[in-house]
């Protein structure tokens, strides 16, 4: 058991709370750097997808987990990023410039969505973003002169300073660097006043407002940042698949993203990546389990949907903090070993609070 006595505010907001953090996260980064040498090609590709979805998850986590604004149309931002990247790189723009443009354009679209969304909240916001997602998907499918319609559009491998990231190792490193940069950016944002304002808005809009937080500004900012991250992830996603069609950015993708952060653990940066791992590796686990199941169940396309639904229900019912919440409990158990008590993390029973007033 480690006790950290905090004696200053600086200490409270430090990124690495103690040496252990530096050690373990350093080890994680080393492991990720060594991954191309250790893993076969297929698993490396899966790991790249984990990083890409992790970046998108970070964005949605910022919006949903930290600002409390749920978006059911987040795949649209992913799509805006991917299509921008596809168009700019075919026009011969350098990778970093086009990636910034993809992020900026997604952020701009995010602001366009965020502004009207200021009027509505809760479930109405979810429905508004759902509507927005459908409209954007339809635009991708219909604006054939630009997006290629349902035929899709091809992407070239990214190029920086004349070096093309053609091999999957090179692209993996590119994604890794971008994912680390994004994670550090979000971590820093969260300990800055902006991030604290986001959390304040999530916990109570009224008290946040009374503390002098400009609701409209911060909500829009949250939408913009979240959309920008989704745009970056979309651009990388497009490069990884090298071919994008409108169906990849539909409502199912949006729900998958939400499912990912809820299962990973709402309101934690770890949760975004844990959720991404769940989303990518679950189908693999299911296909492994097919050998033990009878054919009529194992070969059915419904198995994956069923497992996703079941896992989601189990998590919301028994572990609302997701995989990361479970890890916190395991860690507490390890740290307190003989003294852990069952009721430690029991939620206080709260009865239904109504937003209605009649």
């Amino acid at each position: 058991m480690r006790f950290i006595f905090k004696t200053s505010y600086q200490q409270d907001i430090r990124l690495a709370k103690h040496g252990g953090h530096l050690f373990w996260y350093g080890l994680l980064v080393l492991g990720l750097l060594a991954a191309p040498g250790l893993l076969p090609e297929y698993w490396l590709a899966q790991l790249t997808f984990v990083l890409i979805y992790g970046i998108a998850g970070l964005g949605l986590m910022l919006l949903a987990g930290f600002t409390g604004q749920f978006s059911l149309g987040h795949a649209a931002f992913l799509g805006v990023g991917a299509y921008t990247q596809a168009l700019l790189t075919t026009m011969g723009w350098p990778f970093l410039l086009s990636l910034s443009c993809a992020a900026l354009l997604s952020a701009a679209v995010g602001i366009v969505v965020g502004l009207p969304a200021l009027r509505v909240k809760g479930i109405y916001l979810a429905i508004a973003t759902l509507a927005f997602g459908f409209i954007v998907e339809e635009i991708f499918a219909r604006w054939e002169s630009v997006t290629g319609g349902n035929k899709g559009i091809f992407l070239q491998p990214p190029q920086i300073m004349g070096y093309a990231f053609e091999s999957s190792e090179a692209f993996y490193f590119l994604c890794l660097v971008i994912a680390i940069v994004c994670t550090l950016a979000i971590l820093n944002l969260l300990r800055a006043p902006t991030g604290r304002a986001f959390v304040a808005i999530r916990d109570s809009e009224i008290s946040a407002q009374s503390m002098g937080i400009h609701l409209a500004y911060y909500k829009t900012l949250s939408f913009a940042l979240s959309a920008a991250l989704a745009g970056i992830a979309g651009a990388l996603y497009g490069h990884k698949l090298q071919f994008i069609t409108p169906e990849q950015f539909d409502i199912v993708q949006s729900i998958d993203l939400l499912l990912m952060i809820v299962i990973g653990g709402l309101g934690s940066v770890h949760g975004a990546f844990l959720g991404a791992m769940f989303l990518i590796f679950m189908p693999q686990l299911i296909s492994l389990s097919k050998d033990w199941l009878p054919d009529s169940i194992g070969q059915s396309p419904g198995l994956q949907t069923f497992v996703y639904g079941a896992v989601l229900i189990v998590f919301v019912m028994f572990e609302p903090l997701g995989i990361y919440g479970r890890w916190i409990k395991v860690r507490a158990w390890l740290q307190l070993f003989p003294f852990y008590r069952r009721g430690m993390f029991r939620r206080q029973k709260s009865f239904q609070k109504s937003e209605r007033l009649r």
């Binding site: 009207p116 009027r119 479930i123 109405y124 459908f134 409209i135 059915s300 419904g302 896992v311 009649r358």
Partner: protein, 291 residues
């Protein structure tokens, strides 16, 4: 004539949206939960109808009753097992839970061997019949949809107005705490509301079956019912039907008069405009929150 023709098919489609939206609104009013599983409820109801007719050889009207009873039980069961333990958690967790229920039901239906992955037709007695007035041709399916919706609305109205259960549901949906103090078993009422929503969804599924087909992904039509509920005003029962009619008619008309592609998004454009102009919908009451 063309316009009237379009309007009738729009109204028929809108009745389906309205019935699904009715399910949301029932659940939302009673428990303040937005159920994303309503479209899947409808799909399961339609599948039970198909199974009852093709496997058990039930006649049509018996299959309808069987589907309604089964969906009522499913609603009751889901409320008891899954929803009740999580009441009091943040609203969005519960929304995710209903999305999970939707996934679960869709997966389960797809996993039924030899049935889940296929497209089925429901042999209704009024199949392929048409009515004709001058140049106006109306399918019997559409008339069945409209008539059943009208009948169902009347029944629901009578239930909420004249039966003890209906009045108790109204009371519980207006103020749960006060209803509880008045001796209304609020939790059991909530279960009843879920059962009622399941029955309405089963009817919607069986009405939709002759128009489209029965398949595992037909539940996605439930996403079109959100615009209906919002346009009518979330939490207003007549609003749900009116919203459905508005969405259905706009969709049908825009499919004909506007360029291709507008039909699929018309509902969502309408809901975005509605949320910007009048977030409470046509019939929604304005809620003022005091601090």
């Amino acid at each position: 004539m063309q316009f009237v023709q379009l309007l009738i098919s729009g109204v028929a489609q809108g009745c389906i949206y309205g019935l699904i939206a009715l399910g949301f609104v029932l659940i939302y009013k009673a428990t303040e939960i937005v159920s994303f599983a309503q479209g899947e409820f409808m799909m399961v109801g339609a599948f039970i109808g198909v199974a009852a007719m093709s496997w058990l050889g039930f006649p049509f009207w018996l299959a309808v009753i069987a589907a309604m009873l089964a969906m009522g039980l499913l609603g009751l069961l889901l409320e008891r097992v899954v929803i009740r333990p999580v009441l009091g958690q943040p609203a969005f967790s519960i929304v995710m839970l209903t999305i999970g229920i939707g996934y679960l039901l869709r997966g389960l239906v797809t996993m039924i061997p030899g049935m889940g992955t296929e497209t089925h037709t429901l042999d209704v007695p009024y199949k392929d019949a048409t009515l004709q007035w001058g140049s106006l041709v109306v399918g019997a399916e559409q008339i069945a949809v409209i008539l059943t919706t009208v009948l169902l609305c009347a029944l629901l109205f009578a239930m909420f107005r004249y039966t003890r259960l209906g009045v108790a549901m109204q009371a519980a949906s207006q103020n749960q705490l006060a209803a509880y103090y008045m001796g209304i078993p609020v939790q059991r009422i909530n279960g009843m509301v879920w059962a009622l929503a399941g029955m309405v969804a089963a009817i919607a599924g069986l009405l939709l079956a002759p128009i489209t087909f029965v398949h595992a992904n037909m539940g996605f039509i439930g996403l079109k019912a959100f615009p209906a509920a919002v346009v009518g005003g979330f939490g207003s029962l007549p609003g749900a039907i009116v919203g459905g009619l508005v969405i259905g008619s706009i969709e049908s008309l825009s499919g004909f008069y506007l360029p291709e592609g507008f039909k699929d998004v018309a509902a969502y454009v309408v809901v975005l405009i509605m949320l910007m102009v009048r977030p409470n919908g046509l019939f929604g009451e304005r809620l003022v929150k005091k601090v």
